[in-house]
């Protein structure tokens, strides 16, 4: 029987679908027609990935490491082992020796409880989300510009766009419902200016496609801003916007004539882009991981928001994970609290101290990347990871795995024995979104009801139950009676969120049982223009090629799910690196030759394929399953402002593996 709808958890579009439980698994699956996003349609992941949540190798029982190997055990033992390890770490080295990393795949209720658990129960400032590996720069960059750390518009307004600027996003392959609406808009006359080092599937939609050199977005976007200012292409009222003069001054050093050399873009193309956008309002500016994982990503986000603000348009950051937005809203970050109050803001801290009845210091602690480093250097003694395969999503895979092996105690909650879970001391079998209630917040800020369709497999539990269960134990060794209460009832948790996070004040399970959820309100945001300075160019002659990393449409995150869907895995049978024919000739590489791509931080080995879509001087590395990804090559160097590692535009070198 098909009963109530739930929300697809495979990307941030957040389609509503119906799933029929049968055979202890699923018997049927179809999209909702009335839902504002799915509108009767799903993408390849929605159609195929659901069964991958409940494959035979799902973890069904907790595991505890005993004399070297992970052994099945009871929840009691898994919990008591964890409690003991946490007590030891905290009594020996203080709560700051504990780190907690959450996920953007789990529900809002779980994210919120995890933050409360880390800050309130454990008393550690080291709490962060996977946004640190993906898109955290967008939160900071947008808070300082549009004032809204999210998309300003909903998906259905894309169809009304007069023009779009789409930078560094493989959107047609990753966010089908965004891509579909881009096609609709283009059909009704919308002009698309796209920018990507590589020719993507956006090409048929683009009026103008710029192919800047990898890692040079800030250069040509500054030129774009300067053009808009010099030619007075901005919307009426823009000069009165706060920050206008500072922006103008910050762009004084732009030299248009240098663009071909510094960014590989012709000045005339930038001028054309500016005029296409200015002449075709309303403008929507979108950007994806190509921007967000580049060096200086926060700065590029600010620059792109400036473009939107100057032209009187809106911004839609293309965050990929199903609950990326909700995880941010819930304060799953080391530097701010639920609802985006900064950790340095005494009023924000006081508010949450009184809600949670605990103490919160003005200490941003460690972010997720720093926690991994902390595992390596001994600063972190115990790490808890909920739902994120950090071994693969963190940079420099080899270093990360060594760090996770080294940390004194590692607890991991996940559906499968991921590369991270394999290194753990305790593994909690979490259940999937099919098996629990909660909410996800999609790319449009729409807060949506996730409904339990199946009973949890085996002895698995929701992360909410796991967190609440752990919180009842003595985890800190302090004799003082703990005051922080954690509920395992998602409805109750959401009521607490709604009462305290203004963005969610209208959200309730009761309302979500009557109608599809709405995007949270952006009323009261005050946009301002931010100055955008240049970045120091950085060349590396020893590693002359530039890396382009991408994901294809049936891939999500580290591949834990996609690899378990035969139909999805079948679409991508082999990992390759793609090269331009000219480079292949110069390097004497033939299709199929196995090559080693090396950066200063790691290397990977794959056969070569030729592609016209890849510009000369670049290597395209699509993500593959099981950690075979460009992350292996990434350094622990991060965007200084947001802490996001630089995965895009890395310097690398390529040679025959046999040499």
């Amino acid at each position: 029987m098909i009963d109530r709808p739930t929300i697809c958890g495979f990307c941030s579009c957040g389609c509503a679908l119906y799933v029929e439980p049968k055979y202890g698994g699923i018997g049927a699956l179809c999209p909702s027609t009335t839902h504002p996003v799915s509108t009767g349609r799903l993408c390849i992941k929605g159609w195929n990935a659901i069964p991958s949540l409940i494959r035979a190798d799902r973890l069904r029982t907790p595991l505890v490491r005993k004399s070297g190997s992970l052994e099945p055990t009871s929840w009691e033992e898994a919990f008591s082992t964890t409690a003991e390890a946490l007590r030891r770490a905290i009594s020996e080295s203080g709560p700051k020796a504990v780190g907690v990393i959450g996920s953007a795949k789990i529900t809002n209720e779980e994210c919120y409880s995890l933050v409360k658990f880390a800050r309130g129960v454990l008393g550690t400032p080291n709490i962060d989300g996977p946004c640190r590996f993906y898109d955290a720069s967008m939160v900071r960059g947008l808070l300082e510009t549009t004032g809204i750390p999210a998309s300003q518009i909903d998906l259905n307004s894309l169809q009304q766009a007069g023009s779009m600027l789409i930078v560094g996003a493989n959107v047609m392959e990753q966010l089908a419902h965004v891509g579909s609406r881009i096609q609709d808009a283009v059909e009704s006359g919308c002009k698309v200016v796209a920018a990507d080092p590589r020719v993507s599937r956006l090409a048929p939609q683009a009026t103008l496609f710029l192919h800047p050199h990898p890692g040079t977005d800030i250069v040509w976007i500054r030129a774009l801003l300067r053009t808009i200012l010099d030619r007075k292409l901005y919307a009426e009222g823009a000069p009165e916007m706060p920050g206008f003069e500072e922006l103008r001054t910050s762009l004084e050093d732009v030299v248009m004539d240098l663009l071909p050399k510094t960014a590989g873009v012709e000045p005339s193309a930038v001028i054309e882009a500016a005029s296409l956008l200015a002449k075709n309002p309303p403008v929507i500016v979108m950007f994806g991981l190509g921007v967000l994982q580049q060096a200086g990503s926060t700065k590029i986000v600010r620059a792109l928001a400036d473009v939107a603000i100057l032209l009187g348009g809106s911004v839609m950051p293309l965050r990929g994970q199903n609950n990326a937005q909700g995880a941010s809203d819930m304060g799953l970050a080391h530097d701010y609290l639920p609802g985006y109050g900064s950790i340095f803001d005494a009023a924000a801290r006081q508010k949450w101290e009184s809600v949670w009845r605990c103490e919160i210091g003005a200490d941003p602690g460690l972010n997720a990347v720093e926690m991994i480093k902390g595992c390596a250097n001994g600063e972190i003694k115990a790490l808890m990871v909920f739902g994120e395969n950090v071994a693969l999503s963190a940079p420099s895979t080899e270093y990360t795995i060594a760090a996770l092996e080294k940390v004194g105690f590692l607890a991991v909650s996940d559906l499968y024995l991921t590369e991270t879970a394999r290194l753990a001391n305790v593994v909690f079998p979490a259940c999937s979104f099919l098996e629990k209630d909660g909410t996800f917040t999609n790319i449009e800020r729409r807060v949506q009801r996730v409904r339990k369709v199946l009973d949890p497999l085996g002895n698995s539990k929701s992360d909410l139950e796991i967190i609440a269960g752990l919180s009842t134990l003595d985890l800190t060794g302090s004799s003082a009676k703990r005051k922080v209460e954690l509920s395992n009832d998602p409805d109750q948790v959401m009521a607490e969120v709604a009462a305290n996070v203004p963005h969610y004040e209208k959200v309730s399970y009761q309302a979500l049982d009557q109608a599809w959820g709405d995007p949270w309100s952006t009323n009261g945001a005050k946009p301002r223009l931010a100055p955008v300075s240049d970045r120091a160019a950085h060349e590396d002659t020893e590693y002359p090629m530039r890396l382009i990393a991408s994901r294809i449409n049936f891939h999500m995150q580290t591949g834990t799910m996609a690899a378990r869907s035969p139909t999805l895995a079948r679409e991508y049978p082999e990992a390759v690196v793609e090269l331009n024919e000219a480079d292949a000739e110069r390097l004497k590489l033939r299709p199929g030759t196995v090559v080693k791509v090396s950066s200063r931080f790691g290397n990977l080995t794959r056969p070569v394929a030729l592609s016209d879509a890849v510009p000369e001087g670049c290597v395209h590395v699509p993500h593959f399953f099981g950690g075979d990804s460009a992350n292996m090559l990434a350094p622990f160097d991060c965007d200084a402002e947001s802490g996001v590692p630089v995965y895009k535009g890395l310097h690398c070198v390529i040679q025959k593996a046999s040499d």
Binding site: I2, Y23, S32, G40, R41, W47, M172, G179, S180, Q183
Partner: protein, 363 residues
Amino acid sequence: MKVGDKLILKKTSVPMFFASLASEMRIVAPKKRFAGDVVFDVVESPKEIAWDYGHDVYPPGKRFLFPHYEDMFSYRTDGGIKIESLAEAPKQAIVGIRSCDVSAVRFQEKFFGEPIEDPLYAARSKNAVLFSLVCNKPPRKECFCICCDAGPYLDKGFDVQLTDLGDRFLYEIGSEKGLSASSEGGYMLEPARPEDIAERKQIELQADSLFQTASFIAKAITYITSDDVPDQVWEELGSTCFRCAACTNLCPVCTCYTVEDRPEGNGCFTRFRSWDSCQYAGFTREASGHNPRPTFGSRVKRRFYHKASYQYITRDGTHGCVGCGRCVSACLTKLDLPSVVKRIRRAMHEYIKSPHEPAVRKL
């Protein structure tokens, strides 16, 4: 009562009628779900039947006769191979199914019936009676069954056909199966009067005139069959595809499936099948790695060859589309049948420069 009878079922008797049928078989019918969504499902009481449902996305004929996921058999490998069938073929009445979907079921029955019978499908379809519901007006703007000779009402092919005449249904018996399913509640049926038949005629005429989507498939059939559509056109079409396969999943005619084994532990496995699609690259990739349909365009071409080339029409008895409009509403881009047919016809005008020049082939 006999096959061919035209009867009247009063709406006040409808719950009783289907309740009495329910003693013999389960009733599957359109049900309202969240926020106005509709899906066909087993109903506990005839009161749940959403007679005013319009149309649904998830084709009921496929859902209940050729399920999305279907356990076929189990086998064990410990101590010699043992195979046990898991085929399920419940007796069921699919009530309220639209004419297009009935036409699609007939297509699938033929496809799965010959030359080699698919026993799972055969058992299910043997036990299913279709009570179809005439569309007094096309329920959706996407409907174009009228171009496919598959609706909005049927002259043949139905088991029982219902037409809403306000306070009563015209009840037509179209097959032996329909006849026997009518016997339990037969006492509630009365002969139709000439006025009822006249009223029905009026509805037909009106319904025929209300279609908003049209598709001149005949011309596309000619171009496709003679392989005149330039590959460039297919590639241009394919360049917008999202590879979601909704077009084939939700097509009530499409029949492709893949099989997989689910380990159940202790050397036991379940072989199950689930819908597959020609729109996936992996669908035709050979073990060598070679793919005869390597591009999006070549896969879109494949789909339309199967829908509209004469080679298949001769085999299947009809082209592979019933005009239900589901590919129109399910496709993330515009690769639905009416749009592609339109694009092909336009392309042929673009490519045929003068009437004397042949169409450009294989650009």
